[in-house]
Symmetry: C2
Subunit: 134 residues, 2 copies
DNA sequence: CTGTATCCATTAGGATACTG
DNA sequence: CAGTATCCTAATGGATACAG
């Protein structure tokens, strides 16, 4: 029963499918990092920016707005001067955190294997190129 | 103990960090779909292309090459004419499958909540805009 | 401090045509 | 069938300047 013809687990791969749209938004470069960093902490804009190496002010703002719109992150503005804005995961965001953490953990656990696979692949490719150009 | 100051779980967020590079490659638009589709099935190029709505020939090729290079997918060429090329997950790829599936499952389970959060956010934004433009 | 707005470079990625 | 190569557009995202 390794692959019946009806495929019980198959999911919708159409482009307009909700799940794919949400996946695209969540699985992007910065969102993963933001969610991973906000586990049971509440961080200010500048703190997030300092923690995430390489993020521009613009992209951090854009990312946080998306996450807020999707109900994954809470934004709290303290009416003081200078402004103080804090971000934290919503309860929905916290349910996602576990999944993302498992992705991060997997990557950490297998980075060596992947690095080796890449080297092997590149070596094979180089040899093949050499065989073609004698 | 909701947030100690040393943060035991904190991970490396530097741009040149291996984990971040691998995450970026795995968590992209097409890779997730390909891995999800290849669970204990072996599919031909055209079959994958047909299953994944909206993918171009070029992007499917590029994606499959990356996954192959990273050791997540096996490519088997049958020397027949017309050519027959089949793709399947490697054992490494299968270990990743569970994690990705959990991401997909999470998204499916919470898509309604997210849709509602978006509507609420957009409504609030519209009201705010109206208040500014009287 | 926490943004928004603008401009611009880079990259991703689609369309098309051609090949083994 | 399963690609590769080329061209070209659209989107991503950085840098900078400015505002509340």
């Amino acid at each position: 029963m390794d692959h019946g013809d009806a495929d019980p687990f198959q999911w919708d791969t159409r482009e307009d499918c909700q799940v794919r749209q949400i996946l695209d938004r969540i699985a992007d470069k910065w969102s993963l990092l933001v969610i991973a960093l906000l586990e049971n902490r509440r961080l200010r804009f500048t703190e997030l920016r300092r923690e995430i190496d390489g993020v521009s002010q613009r992209m951090l703002t854009v990312t946080l707005r998306s996450l807020e719109r999707d109900g994954l992150v809470n934004r709290t503005v303290h009416p003081v001067v200078p402004p103080r804005v804090e971000y934290e995961l919503t309860s929905l965001g916290r349910t996602l955190h576990a999944t993302i953490q498992s992705l991060v953990t997997w990557t950490e656990a297998h980075q060596e294997e992947i690095a080796q696979a890449r080297t092997a692949y590149d070596t094979r490719a180089a040899e093949a190129a050499e065989a073609t150009t004698p």
